[in-house]
Amino acid sequence: MMCVSVSANEMEKGKGVLGSRKWAVEFTDNSSTRDILDPPGFTRASPDQDDSSLTRQKKDAEANWKSQKAWEVAQAPFKNLMMMGFMMWMAGNTVHLFSIGITFSALWQPLSALQGVGKVFEPYKDNKVDLLAPKLLYIALNLGGMLLGVWKLNSLGLLPTHASDWVSSLSPAHEVEFSGGGAALY
């Protein structure tokens, strides 16, 4: 079975590495050679099939480990959230390059994380592991992060929540009458 076990954190950090890797050889993997006939005398029989109880135990352990990992991954954004909050507090409420950068990264990070929910939890996909709850937690935490970003955006005054934001570029109304004239020209 092909297995790329990269934790969510690693995935974020190592995106560049993953992206740049063109190919990989997994010597443990043998599924790709299915089309070719097995050499004579070789029987394709996994050792776990022999000992079913041992296999089940192993499988349970793996499922346990997977769900544990999934919960860990789901809780990871919380740390992020805390850090983001701290940075926002540090940045203050005036508009400048730093605060705008932080706010936009606070908005962008949850957004990109939400886009990749499936990918993040893919390694822990298992028939026996219920991934819904960690996924929901993950989404909720990311949404919380996004809310934090929006709140920051608002506190910076960058959200169009005031009347002034909607009328500030409203051109003057057309005047019905025209009047001209003045003092006599000399």
Partner: protein, 982 residues
């Protein structure tokens, strides 16, 4: 989208706050985008100073009250003084060979200026008892007790004043004798000054006065019951000529041994034929006088026996100079005869009138009109014969020096009297520029930028620095005759008092074309003058093939009811396309309507003295457009004398297709005993306002009351309408009004107790700023009124605004009587003011600067934020963030914010602002005796790179970066390969 705008605005604010708050420019930036031209105006009198040693110069006094010393070789100004608007120069002369003596203010101020540098040496105030003509005589070789007196007759008194220090020597009052002195004569060598005058216009008096003490030596008189017309002209030492009251008889007066003889000669005996409007020309020629009638000019010689002999008859357009004394006691004078596109200058000797001493034909630009004045001067040639140079003043007020049949130099001094200004876009650049030109310019461009780069890296030699400055100043880009992206290149079209139209290029101020308007030329029958200059056709979309044109409205005659003259002039070539004058109607107001016909011609209403409106252009299309819109067209008149404002509408029944009767809709009558109108100001018709909302602290919104139909009127109590100091603070009250000109509704009225004019004001968007004098504080003040629309104030619900449920875009009618509220504040201001204007930009987004023409003839830019009525002593944090300044009692004058920097716009009369295409920039043109043009960016040039941005450096950086990327890529590849083989 709103957010994006907001963000960009905030970023913009950040950027602008990073930059220095001053608007000054560096020394080497002078002349990059501004130019300054110095003029003197139409020359009234000229005195030559051509001694052998030293510079040859001519001293002139002009109708703009300028006295100047001009270089005779090149026509440049050595020095110049602009006297006040009421300080009219009467006479000018040279005393002691080193002082320029000027007599001004109807002979009450006598000044001496140092000839080489123009510094004032002394000044004397002459008091008189009554008004009289001002006469000045500077004797050239008279010495009285080591002093050379100057004789001045003014205010009914004869004054003798020391030319060394301006001290009074003596004074002789003629007011008691009620004599009106016409001439002061000093016969050479004698100690007697002769004063010749008329008493009750029926008696000739001659007085002989001792030059030492002013004692009366002799008085003779002879009565002439017929009365006289005009001035007495001396023919010789004891002979004078004058016309009688009927202008048909020439009187020859001979004063001989205490007796006065009169001798009458009919003009008809001298001139056979018509002799209407006879005048004696003031040219002083010994033994000869000249008579001008409607048909011709005659030179009449007075013989020793007292007989009048007609010597010559010339055309009436001939201009005669004063006599010039030559070395051997001879006298010469010059005649100028007008030909078609040339002039004939002839110099004659007085004793030998029969032949021309010198005759020259000079080619003359047709657009300069007729010769108005001529002054001659002589020089001795190497063969000891006399050469002559002539200074001539043309109809368009230009000044030319002629010598040896050629024009040595010309000065376009008509530009000193600009009446009105408008602008025109330049033609669009045509595609298809030759390759060679591009390559050349590319090479030049690169070279220039390499030089600049050297300059920035401090590697340039002084020569190269000079070359860089030269390149910057003479950038061919700014002087091109085509439109540019930023809208900096335009034509400034100026109408001058002489009736000439000039087009100046904004790049360097050169004259592109000039036209003497035929419809505005003053003839002997009528005096014409230009009134207004308007844009007539501004091609935009469907009429792009047409050239833009301007409308010139003038008046032929002096009264308001005189017929008007109209002409339409092509703005690219200066050709008079249409000459509609003199029209049958008069013109007292010109109204540009906001409608255009299919050829992009602007509709205009000309209001005549009988309150009838005349529509132009006179085409059926224009008439139908006007018929359709006439219900909503109104006009108003300000009758300052009567103190009445009247509003009019168009009557349904009209007399002809293009002229309409007015119906009076409303009148505002100011009580004559307490209020007198001194100033009215309206918004500039082409002003663009970006938004109707004003965002204030805490994201709150105020809605501006933006109406083009608003007039600001200032009145003062009649007692206080004089100069400052003529009324006590209790007597003077200044009242200002904001009046809607459609309905006559007074939107706002405010009283300033103890204040008086002069009031200078500017009205823009929803605010008016005005300048006046506070008598109680003894200081000038500036006040601001901002007017807000209360009827829109409820529009603050965000949800409603998002879904568009608001009344902010519905058309406004003045008849709906919107409720308004005003805010106002006053501040002290140090300067007295000549003109106020406000910067204008293409979209009206950029913040505004007030442009104040100060008494020192400079233009000061004052940020509008300083005159914000919401300023308070302790602004809250939110207000501070908004950019509201803490309240101060006086407006600051930052020396760096003078847009005229080191220049003075002498005799400043007006400041015109023109929006450029670039939103951040406004073009400023200030005119008076001088012209000044510059660009200002009230919020900095946030939308463009500066002129001296170093593109070469940018290019170099980019190239270096690309090379670096390439090199590092190669290196990393190599390293990777090595890693893989390891």
């Amino acid at each position: 989208m709103a957010m994006a705008i907001k963000l960009s605005l905030i970023l913009l604010l950040c950027l602008s706050s990073l930059l220095a708050p001053s608007f000054s420019l560096f020394e080497d930036q002078v002349g990059l985008m501004d130019w300054h031209q110095r003029y003197i105006g139409k020359v009234k009198h000229a005195v030559f100073h051509t001694q052998k040693a030293g510079r040859k110069r001519v001293l002139v006094s002009t109708e703009e009250n300028v006295i100047a010393s001009l270089d005779l070789r090149r026509g440049e100004i050595f020095w110049r003084h602009v006297l006040g608007p009421n300080d009219v120069v009467d006479k000018i002369d040279i005393a002691l060979g080193k002082y320029v003596i000027t007599l001004s203010s109807e002979g009450s101020i006598l000044r001496a200026w140092n000839l080489p540098d123009g510094q004032m040496v002394w000044e004397s105030f002459l008091s008189g008892s009554k008004y009289s003509k001002a006469l000045l005589t500077v004797p050239s070789n008279l010495k009285v007790d080591l002093d050379s007196p100057i004789f001045v007759y003014s205010g009914g008194c004869l004054h003798a004043i020391s030319s060394i220090d301006g001290e009074y020597l003596w004074k002789k009052d003629f007011a008691i004798e009620s004599v009106d002195v016409h001439q002061l004569i000093l016969s050479g060598g004698s100690d007697v000054v002769h004063a010749v005058g008329v008493t009750d216009s029926s008696q000739f008096d001659t007085y002989e006065i001792d030059v030492k003490n002013g004692g009366l030596l002799k008085h003779t008189s002879a009565s002439f019951p017929g009365g006289v017309y005009g001035e007495i002209l001396p023919v010789s030492g004891d002979r004078f000529v004058v016309l009688d009251a009927s202008r048909s008889v020439v009187l020859l007066i001979t004063v001989n041994n205490g007796a006065t003889h009169l001798q009458q000669t009919h003009v008809s005996d001298l001139i056979h034929g018509s002799s209407e409007n006879t005048v004696i020309l003031p040219s002083k020629l010994s033994g000869i006088f000249s008579l001008r009638t409607d048909s011709c000019i005659v030179f009449v010689k007075v013989t020793d026996e007292g007989k009048l002999n007609v010597m010559e008859k010339v055309d009436k357009t001939v201009v005669v100079s004063d006599a010039l004394a030559l070395s051997e006691g001879e006298q010469a004078f010059a005649l100028v005869q007008q030909g078609d596109s040339k002039i004939e200058l002839s110099v004659r000797l007085v004793h030998d009138m029969s032949s021309n001493h010198l005759k020259e034909t000079v080619k003359m630009d047709h657009e300069r009109g007729f010769v108005h004045k001529i002054f001659i001067n002589n020089y001795v040639r190497t063969d000891r014969s006399h050469g002559f140079r002539a200074l001539i003043v043309m109809e368009d007020h230009s000044l030319l020096l002629l010598q040896q049949g050629e024009i040595v130099w010309t000065r376009d001094d008509g530009l000193a009297s600009v009446i009105d200004v408008t602008t025109s876009e330049l033609p669009v650049e045509k595609i298809g520029v030759s390759v060679a030109k591009v390559e050349h310019s590319l090479f030049e461009w690169l070279k220039g930028h390499m030089l600049k780069l050297k300059g920035t890296l401090m590697l340039a030699t002084p020569d190269e620095v000079a070359a860089i400055q030269q390149i910057r100043l003479q950038s061919s880009q700014k002087n091109k005759m085509t439109r540019d992206h930023n809208g900096f290149r335009k034509l400034l079209i100026l109408l001058t008092r002489a009736g000439k139209l000039y087009a100046l290029h904004t790049g360097n101020g050169r004259v592109v074309w000039s036209t003497l308007l035929q419809s505005l030329r003053t003839t002997s029958q009528q005096q014409c003058a230009g009134l207004k200059l308007r844009q007539w056709q501004v091609p935009h979309h469907h009429a792009l093939d047409n050239n833009p044109s301007v409308l010139v409205v003038g008046r032929c005659g002096l009264s308001l009811t005189s017929p008007s003259a109209l002409s339409i002039v092509d703005a690219y070539t200066g050709k008079e396309l249409q000459n509609l004058g003199p029209a049958e109607h008069s013109t007292v107001q010109v109204i540009t309507l906001p409608f255009r016909d299919s050829t992009e011609q602007q509709l205009h209403l000309l209001i005549d003295a009988d309150k009838r409106a005349h529509l132009y252009p006179t085409t059926p299309e224009a008439a139908s457009i006007f018929q359709r819109e006439s219900e909503n067209v109104y006009w108003y008149s300000v009758e300052s004398e009567a103190g009445i404002l009247r509003g009019y509408g168009v009557k349904k029944t009209h007399s002809s297709e293009y002229s309409f009767e007015a119906r009076n809709l409303w009148s505002i009558v100011f009580p004559a005993e307490s209020e007198k109108i001194i100033a009215t100001v309206t918004r500039k018709p082409n002003e663009v306002v970006h938004t109707q909302a004003k965002v204030i602290a805490d994201e709150d919104v105020m809605y501006k009351y933006i109406s083009k139909n608003m007039v600001f009127v200032a009145t003062v109590s009649p007692k206080a309408s004089g100069p400052i100091g003529s009324a006590t603070p209790d007597e003077s009250v200044l009242v200002v009004y904001l009046i809607d000109t459609v309905t006559g509704r007074i939107l706002h009225r405010m009283t300033h107790l103890g204040s008086q004019g002069p009031v200078h004001a500017v009205l823009s968007e929803n605010w008016v700023v005005y300048h006046y004098f506070n008598l109680r504080a003894h200081r000038y003040e500036m006040s601001v009124i901002e007017i807000y629309d209360q009827s829109r104030a409820e529009n603050k619900d965000v949800l409603k605004l998002i879904v568009g449920k608001h009344n902010l875009t519905t058309p406004v009618s003045s008849y709906s009587r919107p409720e308004v509220t005003t805010k106002s504040q006053s501040y002290f201001f140090t300067h007295s003011v000549k003109a106020i204007s406000v910067s204008s930009t293409a979209k009206g987004i950029t913040s505004k600067h007030l442009l104040i023409g100060t008494i020192g003839d400079q233009v000061l830019a004052l940020d509008k934020r300083f005159v914000d009525p919401r300023r308070s002593l302790n602004p809250t944090q939110a207000e501070k963030e908004e950019g509201l300044l803490p309240l101060t009692d006086a407006l600051p004058i930052i020396p760096q914010s003078y847009v005229t920097h080191a220049f003075k716009v002498e005799g400043l009369r007006g400041i015109e602002t023109i929006p450029a295409k670039l939103e951040s920039t406004s073009l400023v043109f200030a005119y008076g005796v001088d012209l000044f043009y510059t660009r200002i960016a009230p919020s900095k040039t946030y939308d463009s790179l500066t002129e001296d941005f170093n593109y070469a450096l940018l290019l170099l950086t980019i190239v270096a970066l690309v090379i670096a990327i390439f090199v590092t890529w190669v290196l990393s590849e190599r390293k990777d390969l090595q890693d893989k083989w390891r």
